[in-house]
């Protein structure tokens, strides 16, 4: 603080509190709705204090889902989301780690060509090649499978850049010492590079876990069986036309369940989250 201006500090607190209140309001209403009966939600205005149906709504959502054409238990969907998020995060880290190790620690023909190939994928988000990618995955027989959900999304230019930047900061002396001691490249990779990369990997894991959990368009395209829906897709499928037809209490419980895991990851692993966010954008 440059100078003491008490009213400015008070204003800063007031603005922050107001901002947080506005930002948290949708979440609060969602939570309240997930503890009410459907009748209570449908009476306008709905109560703004939590009701007593928390347990019923959540257990209904987890084991049965909202009634309607596409009813499916959310427990299964959350498992699918978890598998997808973890597989994408670990897959991206694994293949980017070895790819950037090759690019930094070896000289070989077409090195720059491969680097640029990975770079260009930044410019081809799934949204711009929806149908051809769907065709490829369908031709490979990967529809409605975990492989189809994860494999097409694990190529990562950002993770490759991040590890490349990091490897470039590893002191030359370590590689020199390893070579003098007669260690081969893979020995050096496992004994030196991998332990040093732990924090970068943790930061990347947090970011990619959220990315994987929150995928929408891709699972929407390639999952047609209810047993393969992810939690985010499940909510969409539960909302039927018309406010009165949808079982909002169960839908809102599902929404809470779908947003809780990534939100907890962000809040509990805040340090790594911030590090990952800032570094992947460098």
């Amino acid at each position: 603080m440059v100078e003491n201006r008490p009213w400015l500090t008070v204003m800063a607190h007031a603005v922050l509190i107001a901002g947080i209140a506005v930002i948290a309001f949708p979440l609060y209403v969602t939570f309240v709705a997930s503890t009410l009966t459907l009748d209570q939600i449908l009476q306008v205005p709905m109560p703004l204090l939590p009701g007593d149906r928390l347990w019923e709504n959540y257990s209904r959502a987890l084991t049965a889902g909202a009634s309607g054409a596409a009813a499916a238990p959310v427990g299964r969907m959350m498992l699918n989301s978890l598998v997808m998020a973890v597989a994408i995060a670990l897959g991206k880290i694994a293949i980017s780690l070895i790819a950037s190790f090759a690019i930094v620690y070896f000289r070989f023909p077409f090195r720059n060509f491969f680097f640029w190939m990975i770079f260009v994928t930044l410019m081809l988000p799934v949204e711009v090649r929806i149908i051809p990618t769907y065709k490829v995955v369908s031709d490979l027989g990967m529809l409605n499978s975990y492989v189809g959900l994860t494999l097409p999304l694990i190529a990562s230019a950002t993770a490759t850049f991040l590890f490349r930047q990091f490897f470039l900061t590893i002191p030359e002396e370590l590689a020199e010492a390893a070579r003098i001691d007669g260690a081969g490249p893979m020995r050096f990779f496992f004994d030196v590079v991998l332990p040093l990369s732990k924090t970068s990997m943790a930061a990347l894991f947090v970011i990619q876990f959220i990315y994987g959990w929150n995928q929408y368009l891709w699972p929407l395209l390639i999952t047609t069986e209810e047993s393969m829906y992810t939690a985010v897709i499940g909510i969409k499928r539960m909302i039927l036309g018309g406010d009165a037809l949808t079982e909002w209490n169960v839908v809102m419980a599902t929404a809470m369940l779908a947003l809780l895991p990534p939100a907890l990851v962000v809040v509990l692993m805040q340090k790594w989250f911030v590090k990952g966010l800032v570094e992947t954008e460098k």
């Binding site: 607190h13 209403v29 410019m123 949204e127 947003l259 962000v266 911030v274």
Partner: protein
Amino acid sequence: MEKRVVFRSAWLPYALLAPQIAVTIIFFFWPAAQAIWFSFQLQDAFGLHTEFVGLKNFSDLLRDGNYLASFKTTAVFSVLVAGSGIAVSLVLATMADRVIRGALAYKTLLIWPYAVAPAVAGVLWAFLFAPSIGIVTYVIRKAGYNWDWVLQGDQAMLLVVMAATWKQISYNFLFFLAGLQSIPRSLVEAAAIDGAGPARRFWTIVFPLLSPTTFFLLVVNIVYAFFDTFGVIDSTTQGGPAGATQILVYKVYYDGVKSADLGGSSAQSVILMLIVIALTVAQFRFIERKVQY
């Protein structure tokens, strides 16, 4: 920057690169090439007959009023999302940079929306503003306004902008906060000694020094509004009413998946690819030059 000390092997680097390159070719380059190839073709609805038509799909698109309207919708949407997101988070970050007590608690309470999926964010906001049961709708009606985004295009746009901005505030906030904290205290202190008040200090010192961050966030937010908001749109308005919120990405999806117009959808994909390439180049130029005045 290059390493002086490297390892030698004729095959190992290729083996290490193989998984990444394989995924890249099979799921990125091959489909992108196909999108370009399809964009020059015309298919009948059942995919039985294909004909090479050159640039016809593109010229059809550019003469299609719906497509041009979708361009305009996307422009309005992304400017609103980027503009309001940046403005709100700059205010919050400036305040958070000032407070000392409770700084961590404020930060934690502001960053969690990043974790919410765009589609879930859409559901949350659509519920608040639902035409018949929404709690905010109730307040707006009490105040004497007519609110029904299912029928009113402008209101539908407002809804998706709010939902999309809400999700992105955390991201902008963190980058602004980092930017603010890297501004040398001595500059601000010198201005204070010379008698510049807080507002003057902000506009003549802090804001110009933040310009690299602001430019960077502008590009990132536009990219976000273009591509990552598909979930927001699909879980709320689905492009409606009457195309009022049909952004380009949603139209590619709708024409390709729902209407099975392969050629037209692919031509739109190709145009979108050109836009992404332009935005990515802009993003990297800004980062490289670190825009400083």
